[in-house]
């Protein structure tokens, strides 16, 4: 476990070499003619097959820790990438009516396949200045309070809510505590439970504990294939349990934080498959899959009455851990 990678780029190394080789072959092929050209094209096909095989093998067998690194990778599509690809006429509304704007959570009404919806999501940044501007997608209390405003508006105007989750955690600074980050997260969840419109939460990257579930109360909770969802960052878990933050890979395994685990545990409703090699290799295809999944669930949910939607959401989270009807005999330690 001491050989656990530190970044997703480590396992992309062979890939980069392969693709460099591919590039050179393509150049040669472009200049070649006749059988030489045919030979080169054949070789290219072979290399492409090897690349695809590598991607297939690797990306279907990532360790939990590798999934963590991948979920955090900068080239992955972020909330605004999905909004741009899938939504039309998005109008960001910024006011929390309390303190100020929050750039780590954004939201507003938009058209999704012609349907009026409210979209809310964490937003990461790619460049250093973007990341700072977005506070690394760590929302402060005002982000959740803005989200509450948008949820309530969605309820009044009958707009389904789509939320995109992608945050390492809520902002844990002194300022955030001063303004009640805990209350803001709890109140945001409470507000989502009160809604009488469909809510769909999509974990697109990092589902980081309270900061994530704060906008995650969906009638349906979907996860991208390479997204994670965890009660604590694995490094933090390792630090607390073993006083060894470097044992994050072990903690990642133990925490069962991958999309597959979440599905198995019944905590996610669907995994959205990503293109070969991850969403960042083909964001357009990734967005298409996300859009299709949202549309499918939206169609189902829109058939339900407002009261039924609220009750459905309650039932979903009430029963999610299988304990609702638990009696002593259900549980190993029960007497």
């Amino acid at each position: 476990m001491s050989t656990a990678p530190k970044t997703w780029k480590e396992w992309e190394k062979p890939l980069i070499e392969l693709e460099e080789a591919l590039g050179k072959l393509q150049e040669l092929a472009n200049r070649a003619t006749g059988t030489e050209r045919d030979r080169l094209l054949e070789k290219i096909k072979g290399f492409e097959k090897r690349r695809d095989r590598y991607l297939d093998t690797k990306y279907h067998n990532l360790s939990a820790w590798e999934e963590v690194l991948l979920a955090r990778a900068e080239p992955r599509p972020y909330t605004l990438d999905y909004i741009n690809a899938l939504f039309r006429d998005f109008i960001e509304l910024q006011g929390d009516r309390r303190h100020g704007p929050d750039n780590a959570i954004l939201g507003g009404p938009a058209f999704f396949n012609g349907q009026r919806v409210m979209v809310v999501g964490h937003q990461k940044g790619r460049t250093i200045s973007e990341r700072t501007h977005r506070n690394f997608a760590m929302s402060r209390p005002e982000g959740y309070r803005k989200a509450i405003r948008l949820f309530e508006m969605a309820d009044r105007f009958n707009l389904p809510v789509i939320s995109f989750i992608d945050t390492p955690a809520a902002d844990p600074s002194v300022e955030s505590e001063s303004r009640g980050i805990s209350e803001a997260i709890a109140a945001s969840m409470l507000s989502m439970f009160e809604l009488r419109v469909p809510t769909i939460a999509v974990v697109i990257g990092e589902g980081g504990s309270g900061g994530a579930i704060g906008i995650g109360i969906g009638n349906k909770v979907l996860m991208m294939e390479h997204a994670i969802y965890s009660v604590i960052p694995p490094e933090g878990c390792a630090a607390i349990l073993w006083r060894a933050p470097e044992r994050g890979a072990e903690a990642a395994d133990a925490l069962r934080l991958t999309s597959r685990s979440a599905l198995e545990l019944g905590l996610a409703d669907e995994i959205i498959p990503e293109p070969r090699g991850g969403a960042h290799r083909d964001p357009a295809v990734a967005a298409e899959s996300v859009g299709a999944a949202i549309q499918m669930h939206l169609d189902q949910l829109c058939k339900m009455s407002p009261d039924a939607l609220k009750q459905h959401r309650y039932e979903r989270f009430r029963s999610v851990d299988g304990l609702r009807e638990a009696s002593p005999s259900d549980l190993p330690l029960g007497k």
Partner: protein, 270 residues
């Protein structure tokens, strides 16, 4: 009831103990008569769930429910089973939340008390379930719910299942709101992280004991994230009151009366 069968107060000898804060030597009898509050520095020492129930609700009114719900190890998390077994053996209880019904000033209430002694009062599936049932009982029976919080946060050994308890318990608060039944939370030392960021912070009325540790982020995380230097009272009851997050700081000896009045005033049901 196995309430507090093995509960302990900070020991020194049988007749004496030392204040955890000012370190003065205290007569155990006096200390306990004073509700485990130091007579010198008024430090509010932690109470077991049994002690808390005894000093808060009408004598013999508590009926424990759901005591047979036992934590298990759904993820086969390293070392968790052993820790859990240890906590169970030490406390002779199956989980850190003690819940049920009681009366206060003769009025019925649905209550839950968290015992920090049981794995730091951390919220796993069973703790979340017991909190949820407590709030649902309040809503269903049309009576107020009272929850004494004491927790380090979510129980990470249950992974995402623990995180889901934040949502589940919040859903139960929503049930109380819909039913029009009051929910009163009392923050005791410590009330942290996943518990604070879910059912605890959205109670109708929030009381706190003096100088309790209350916060979102653990001290370590918080320190890393500090651009602004934390004030001296950071993450205390006093800090939260100053920032509008709680309604009153109530010394332990007045807590019972305050709760009794609140229950009578906010009533049950619509």
């Amino acid at each position: 009831m196995r309430l507090g069968a093995k509960s302990k107060t900070p020991t020194f000898s049988d007749a004496f103990l030392q204040c955890a804060r000012c370190k003065k030597t205290l007569f155990r009898r006096e200390f306990e008569a004073n509700l485990s509050v130091c007579p010198y520095c008024s430090h509010h020492h932690r109470l077991s769930a049994a002690q808390r129930i005894a000093i808060t609700f009408d004598v013999d009114s508590f009926v424990e429910l759901d005591s047979d719900l036992a934590s298990d190890d759904p993820l086969s998390f390293p070392e968790y089973s052993e820790k859990l077994a240890g906590a169970v053996a030490k406390s002779d209880r199956l989980d850190g939340i003690v819940c049920g019904t009681a009366t206060i000033g003769k009025l019925p209430v649905s209550i839950a008390v968290s015992d920090f002694g049981f794995m730091g009062g951390s919220m796993g599936r069973v703790a979340g379930e017991k909190i949820t049932r407590t709030l649902e009982r309040g809503a269903d029976r049309g009576i107020p719910s009272i929850i004494f919080c004491a927790s380090g946060g979510a129980r990470m050994q249950e992974g995402l299942l623990s995180l889901m308890q934040m949502a589940k318990t919040t859903a139960a608060v929503e049930r109380c709101r819909s039913a029009g039944t009051p929910y009163i939370a009392v923050f005791t030392d410590p009330t942290m992280a996943g518990v604070l960021a879910s059912y605890a912070s959205i109670a109708d009325v929030i009381l706190a004991e003096p100088r309790a540790l209350i916060g979102f982020a653990g001290a370590r995380v918080s320190k890393q994230a500090q651009v602004v230097k934390a004030p001296d009272d950071f993450q205390t009851s006093e800090f939260l009151l100053k920032h509008g997050m709680i309604d009153r700081i109530v010394p332990r000896k007045e807590l019972r009366d305050t709760l009794e009045s609140l229950v009578a005033l906010l009533g049950g049901g619509k």
